[in-house]
């Protein structure tokens, strides 16, 4: 039996007990954002000597998205303090993923601001180092935060399935959409537009909302990765081809530490969930040592 498999077997009961015991430890916190919107997050206090982990979910998802929630559970069981917010996306106490057809007025910037808020909240709640673990677009948002003015307590950004919103669309099409949005913004148009964005075939939003997300492309990510003020760990699924097969290599080429978990998809589900957890824990521990 491999060590990883042993750990899987060991972790499983822990996870199960964590699921059973979850209600005892999880705390749903509500905070009023500077925008006036009420945002919520699930907080679980862990060992004080371990860094707190802020988990950021994917595009328009919630903290209950399985990839993030299971990781939060795992980390909590591992003794880490975890904070899993649901980015409000302009909706107080958002509890469900926001459909593509919903009115999208939120922007990337607001999302990043909200990440800032939660990092600060976490720092106040649990002093000590903070590690942001992002998944999917949440990884990009976490990176953007890390490139901006991250909190001093931020130690690392672990980016799972670091992607943009292009989804390998035709560059000319993307350029056209971006150009259109810019024009609309320039004209001061407030009508909702509908463009494909990410997995949304029809992303109903203001042009600003669309542009805020759509303008981040791969080069931008690579650039950001080099600009991160904290170490960036990128973990990609070996089967995740959203960014192309060469994406991990490009990230490495950008000077990033990239790990590829063979066979894992974009969501690190099934048995790769344990790989995700293990790797996260491993990275967190390495962060501790460095501290």
């Amino acid at each position: 039996m491999s060590s990883s498999r042993f750990r899987q077997l060991l972790v499983l009961p822990c996870l199960l007990s964590a699921c059973i015991c979850q209600p005892l430890f999880a705390e749903t916190v509500e905070a009023r954002l500077p925008t006036g919107t009420f945002a919520t997050a699930e907080f679980r206090a862990g060992k004080p000597d371990l860094p707190a982990v802020l988990l950021i979910h994917g595009f328009m998802q919630t903290r209950d998205f399985p990839t993030v929630s299971r990781l939060a559970d795992g980390l909590a069981n591992a003794g880490y303090t975890t904070l899993s917010p649901t980015l409000s996306l302009g909706i107080s106490r958002r509890a469900s993923s926001l459909p593509c057809e919903a009115v999208h007025r939120h922007t990337q910037e607001q999302d990043v601001a909200e990440i800032t808020f939660w990092v600060n909240w976490l720092a106040r709640r649990k002093p000590g180092s903070v590690v942001i673990v992002g998944h999917s677009y949440g990884s990009l948002q976490s990176l953007i935060y890390a490139v901006g003015k991250p909190a001093p307590t931020l130690r690392r950004v672990i980016a799972f399935s670091l992607v943009d919103t292009e989804r390998q669309s035709d560059p000319r099409t993307v350029a056209a959409m971006l150009s259109d949005a810019k024009k609309r913004i320039a004209r001061g148009e407030t009508q909702l537009v509908s463009y494909p964005l990410g997995y949304c075939k029809q992303y109903v939003s203001t042009p600003q909302s669309f542009l805020s997300y759509a303008r981040w492309n791969r080069p931008d990510i690579l650039r950001l990765s080099r600009q991160s003020k904290v170490p960036l760990e990128v973990i990609m699924g070996g089967s995740d081809d959203r960014m192309g097969e060469d994406w991990p290599e490009k990230l490495r080429s950008a000077g990033n530490r990239v790990q590829v978990i063979a066979g894992a998809n974009h969501f690190f589900d099934a048995e790769h969930e344990f790989d995700m957890l293990d790797l996260t824990v491993s990275l967190l521990k390495s962060s501790e040592k460095k501290n």
Binding site: T37, G90, S92, R93, A95, L98, A102, V103
Partner: protein
Amino acid sequence: MPVFSRRLFGPVSLARLTFFFLAGVALLLVVTSSVFFANISRIEQNFAANNEKFARQELTEALALMENHMLAVTKALAAWDETRQQLEDPAYYAYWRNSRVLSSGVLPSTTDAIELYDVHGRTLSKETREGEAAMPAHIGKDNLRLALARENGHDHFILFFPIFSDTALQHRIGYGGIKIDFKAELQTLRRFLYLDMASVRLTSKEAQPLTLDQAVRHIAFMTQPSAEIAAFKSLIYRVMYQVAAIVLAGMLLAYFFIVLLVAKPLRRLSVHIDAMRAGRGGLLSESYRGPVPVAELENVRISLNDYQSKLDDMHVNLANKNEELWKLAHHDPLTGIFNRRAFEEDWSALTRPGLTSLNVAFLLFDCDHFKTINDTYGHHVGDQVLQGIAESLYGALRTGDRLYRMGGDEFATILYETDVALASRVAERCIEAVNAHNFAVYGMREPLRISIGIAHSHDVASAELLHKHADLAMYHAKRPGSPKMAIYTESLTPSSHAMVSSPETAAVYAAITNPDLLEMHYQKIVQLPAGEVDYFEALVRIRHADSLLHPASIFSVLEAKRLEIEFDQAVLERIRLDLAGGLIPAGTGISINISGMSIVTTQITDKLLALGEFLGRYKLVIEVTETSLITQISHASANLNRLRKAGFVIALDDFGSGYSSLRYLSTMPVDMIKFDISMVHCLNGEDRQRVIVENLAKLISAAGFKLVAEGIESRATLERVTALGFTHAQGFYLGRPERLKR
């Protein structure tokens, strides 16, 4: 059944009966169907009542479901992130309300309108909508309940609800309102088995909101047609129609087949029976029975044919029997020729008017002295004689001539298209045939002779006289010396007087029954040469009224009526009375004339023998004619011998008027020979007849016979006969017949 009923309900044809029967069945089917349909209708009504009850139940349940669903929907809507988003930032509320929320799946598809209101109850919408999508621009707390209302002809559920930003429902951020198509929503909630949703409608006033409790009372509806009942009813109707069609088709087929297989053959059978009744029927062939034979009708046909065959056989047998009976009835069983019945039938045809225009001869045949033959030889020989006569006559007649046996020994024939001459030739042929027939084979020793009387239609005024004339002629033919065949002529009329019913006939009949009416006149017969009265010949007279009937009249009646024997009996009785009364002088006697028929009769013989008591005092002489003796010599001889033995003297009367056969004289049992007057008168002549008579007298006298000469009318004659040796004489010269007095 009363007469009027019989007339009103006469025989009805099978086809019509079948039609009426089938019509009755059809009517019964209609009535049964009507009753059945009525029952189904009643069941249907019961089902409808139950269905209404169940439908109301369904409606009530549906309204309850509706309420729960609406609450759930509003709850979900209130909890929906995008609802709070709009309440917090209604910048794009129009898009959200008009498009997003309706396509999100949060609202039921039956939603007609959705509206969000701020905390003050003011709509977030900046535009007004009309029609079904219209929602109030402002709501109050009174609106926060589920209501049912009718708007613009459509029924809606309307519910306004508060929206909170927190799960603890502490921070109300606004209100929501949804309008749902009442009927459409109900239909999505459940399946209605009884309620016809299409018929559901509020009966409340326009825009009058009703709570659910109120709405129940203001909802009008109809029930769905029960699929089961409808299917059942449809099935029943279909089955009934099919059954009716089948029954109707069956009845039509039955009518057709009954008519084809039963009625038509029966009709043909009936026609055939009618033909049979009219005598035109025959056997029924198999073609009558139609295309498919019916066993019962076939039995009838076979039975009818059997009956017809038996009937035909019976008719044939009957016809044969009739023919046989006719033959038996019309033929004489002894001789095989036609009998009297056949004669009378033919005679009836003959005696119709117009006979005198016919050329018809009527012949009557009679056997001479047949009674004597019967008595002498017996009935068996008598029958054989009759058969022989019939055979002889039949052979002598022409082909086609019918020979009738009239009775006894009398035969007749009717010769059509025959004149007198031809009839005579036929009669002669008949006589010859009879004479030629060998009757000796039957045991007869005497020749048999017949007498024939002929009458022709030309001589009669009517057919009835034809028979009488023939009868008269026949009797004339029977007279001694007759050629045995006589043709009726007017000259026979006097003697025919006796044939008809006459006072003389009546007198004869009377005398037969009453001998006192007989008067015996006695004529002397003197003994020669002394001239003394030896005896008297008894000659009969009948006192009739104031006159006397003499033998000529009497004998004609006797011959015509064949009363010889009866009359002789009466005469003998008279004579006996005269003898007993002493009328006859003592020492004399009497001679009694006995007819040829009587001499062979045992009764007469016995009657004569009875007179034997007078033999001691009187000489009794029995006179029989020569002809009667010869023709029946055996039987007569026997009787005469008995009389001679008793003491009677037998005299042969009228010798010379008949056969006058010397050969027979030697064998005849006679004592005396009475020469006929014709013979005595010959003695007065000078011709050979005198010589013959003289020598004959001598011869007979020499033979030992006593001779009596009749017709002595003069002395000379008396002397002459005396000289010839006659022993007795009789005549007017010696004395006329007269009554003797005591």
